[in-house]
Point group: C2
Chain length 127, copies 2
DNA sequence: CTCTTACATGTGTGTTTTACACATAGAAGC
DNA sequence: GCTTCTATGTGTAAAACACACATGTAAGAG
């Protein structure tokens, strides 16, 4: 069994806290941005996501589920890529709706950045 | 029953997406920062948190649970405040461990800010 | 004195998100 | 034949979050 996860973004290690702060559901906008640059399949996105997320790996299981969820919502479309060699791959492309969602994510992320800035400024005061 | 929440940070409204991007578990560092400034009780923190989180209200239920969890971990201490008037209030104060965790959160948030910046720069390219 | 409102601290629980383990299969190199 | 890389998935438990509701003190209005 051995299923015991600690709290999400932090753990105690070597007498000191190690914290990793992430934006909630950040893989979604990261995915949309990569797909705006060019259509791609899941495994390809899996390799390119860490450039944006800063994590070693994104969970592949959740990634594939997210892609299918986005397709159900009409934010991306997909089709089996018959042409290219190797195992069958499903090629995803951004829709107009997905592009609009990406725009909204970008605006929301500017807001998040401002809040983080305010936090850090307030943190820097009164040391 | 009527318990159906949509996806976390976004909803479709009026033919357009409304997205709100938050850092995971952000109430924790916000709480620690407020407590570094001065000891306070839960209800007081509840009113001052939106300055940092940017949300209308933080869920009070989760806030009180978080405070007790932080105490169990030795990050804050508390005692009933007998002196002040009104309903009994539990006054929380930051410990040395809590202060160290706040420092790590601040560093992690600088990392998150940088990743957000990179995302937004990449988003701004190739319009 | 009774009623309402503000203060203050909680519990219960359903839904969503994430982490981790595991399954399946084609193709390429040795 | 065997292993590794590519590629797409399923199962599920823990954690995080949203929403509803419970409990009790005190102050002010009438």
């Amino acid at each position: 069994m051995r299923h015991h996860h600690g709290p999400r973004g932090r753990r105690h290690h070597g007498g000191r806290w190690l914290v990793f702060a992430r934006v909630e559901r950040f893989t979604e906008p990261a995915l949309l941005l990569l797909l705006r640059e060019r259509p791609a399949h899941g495994y390809d996105l899996l390799e390119r996501l860490p450039e944006l997320t800063g994590e070693q790996r994104v969970e592949m299981g959740n990634l594939y589920r997210l892609l299918r969820a986005l397709e159900e919502e009409g934010l991306v479309t997909s089709e089996w890529d018959e042409a290219s060699p190797g195992p069958a791959k499903r090629r995803y492309a951004l829709t107009e709706e997905g592009l609009q969602l990406l725009d909204q994510w970008a605006e929301a992320l500017r807001g998040s950045r401002e809040r983080t800035d305010r936090f850090l400024e307030r943190y820097a005061e009164r040391r």
